[in-house]
Amino acid sequence: MHSAVVTRWHGRLSLGLLLAPALLWLAALIVLPHVDLAVLSFRVRVGPRDYVASLAQYKTFFTEPLYWHVFVRTALMSVAATLLTLLLAFPIAWIIAKLQTGRAGSWLFILCLIPFWVSETVRTLGWMILLRESGVLPSLLVKLGLTAVPVELLYHDATILVGLIYTSLLFMVIPLISSLESLDNSLIEAAYDLGAGGFVILRTIVIPHAAPGITAGCIVVFMLTLGNYLTPTLLGGKNSQWFTEQIYTQFITRFNWEQGAAFGFLLLALSTAMVVIGLRITGQRFGDVMRRT
């Protein structure tokens, strides 16, 4: 009986030792900083070191057209980038999962992974050299006689979209492949034998089966796109008008932490809302989606 008590005590002790670092991490780096950010966003400065609770920061956001225009624009561009990424990634995922099974398929997959081993900064540098007025593509267009003078291909919305899609591809391809691989080929064969065409098979068999992977990919891509800073600012320049840039300006440049905190919360709310809606639509659980990607 004595040893049973000791074992239990040991169990408690080791549980405590495992629990402490996890709680410390989550409390000190995730929960408390966000509580603090919330407190910051709901106050306003009335004098030196003197603050009162207020909704002023959020009011500024809704009354100043610039801010909510940028917010809406960021959201819409992110949706567009997500859908385009899905369209571009689906065929390659299909090829890897269904057409090129075996060695060729795994080589293709490794080829897809390679660009993502280098940082976003390097990839963006490549796009800048390709697209700027003195860059590779504009001078190629002149040589081919398509344009008389080099055109500036940077600093357009389309450029930002290209950059965002490029950065997001991998996060769409991986969940798509894993959901397509589990689709039984005999279902497709059966549908074909019963006279279904390619489009009908895609709509009634492939997409319903791949829905969890599609949702997982879309959620992750949307989140990453919404929170991206590097790609919009470098490829969009002054015209980028990305919401993370507003947060940076308020927090770091203007040192207006209260306003920046409110903007941060609005972005977090949008991002979380999209995740929740995405999960609701397909009836999935958060943990399962995260483990998939």
Binding site: L29, I110, G126, T233
Partner: protein, 285 residues
């Protein structure tokens, strides 16, 4: 369509065209970066003016600062490495503890704790950065006002960068390591205990060797993610810039091909790391 069904010729052609286009899209930026690190011109732009190694080896006497003479850039690579080593160490240690906590521990609130552990992945990096920045300065100010302590590590700088990156990379390490621990056959452990081994010996000789691939894998991923992190780092950085922030600053100003040189260096380094890692994995499997 799948291989067992007839595919019309137009579909085969379309697939081939798509594949070529897709691969070109994927690799064009990287190839361009690599090629222009050897161009004998002051800016990374066409036309091609001949091959040079100036952007790697150049120094003041040549009038061009190459990568190996650019002390600012080399310093930032070291800064990134130091940050990444700390982040890797912390993330793998915490990830291992968390894996045992989730897979073995039984306590009330476990379900909600494991969901909370995933939260850092759905919080945009910029917001992780500003929240940690704000919270750390609040503590620093509190310590200063009440105790008269100067807690410099809570001001923007490398310690905060490490904490900021660690806050979400720890989740990735946790997921990787607990996925492996979940597949562990516990009868092996019981057998060793029955044969008289104590818990520490079982952990060292059976559980740890089993977890090794996941530990190495999560260490590699943590290192790379830390090295590549931009969003969180940008908000927390002080006077010493890691490489990504340094490159960003120079890209905005319009930089010489020395940035291409450092990029090529990164590509080669990560390719070597990736190959070593994949070779290891194919050997262990």
């Amino acid at each position: 369509m799948i291989p067992s069904l007839p595919r019309p010729a137009w579909l085969r052609t379309a697939t081939a065209v798509y594949l070529v286009g897709f691969m070109a899209f994927l690799f064009m930026p990287l190839i361009i970066v690599a090629v222009f690190s050897f161009n004998d011109a002051p800016y990374p732009a066409p036309p091609w003016r001949g091959f040079t190694l100036d952007w790697f080896l150049g120094n003041l006497t040549l009038g061009r600062t190459g990568l190996f003479a650019d002390s600012e850039l080399l310093g930032s690579i070291w800064t990134s490495c130091a940050v990444a080593i700390w982040v890797t160490l912390l993330s793998v240690l915490l990830g291992t503890a968390n894996a045992f906590l989730i897979e073995r521990g039984r306590f009330p609130g476990k379900q909600s704790l494991s969901v909370l552990m995933l939260a850092p992945l759905v919080i945009p990096g910029v917001i992780l950065g500003i929240s940690i920045l704000a919270f750390a300065s609040r503590i620093a100010e509190f310590a200063d006002a009440t105790l008269g302590l100067e807690l410099d590590f809570l001001r923007p700088g490398l310690p905060l960068v490490v904490l900021g990156q660690f806050s979400y990379i720890a989740t990735i390490a946790t997921l990787t390591i607990s996925a492996r621990l979940r597949r562990f056959d516990r009868t092996l452990e019981e057998a060793a205990l029955n044969l008289g081994a104590n818990k520490a010996a079982v952990f060292r000789t059976i559980v740890l060797p089993y977890l090794r691939p996941a530990l190495l894998g999560s260490a590699a991923i943590s290192f790379l993610m830390s090295f590549a992190d931009f969003n969180t780092t940008l908000m927390l950085v002080g006077t010493d810039s890691p490489l990504t922030v340094m490159m960003y600053g120079r890209m905005r100003e319009g930089a010489t091909p020395v940035l291409n040189a450092v990029s090529l260096f990164l590509m080669v380094a990560s390719a070597v790391l990736a190959l070593a890692f994949m070779r290891r994995r194919s050997q262990t499997n």
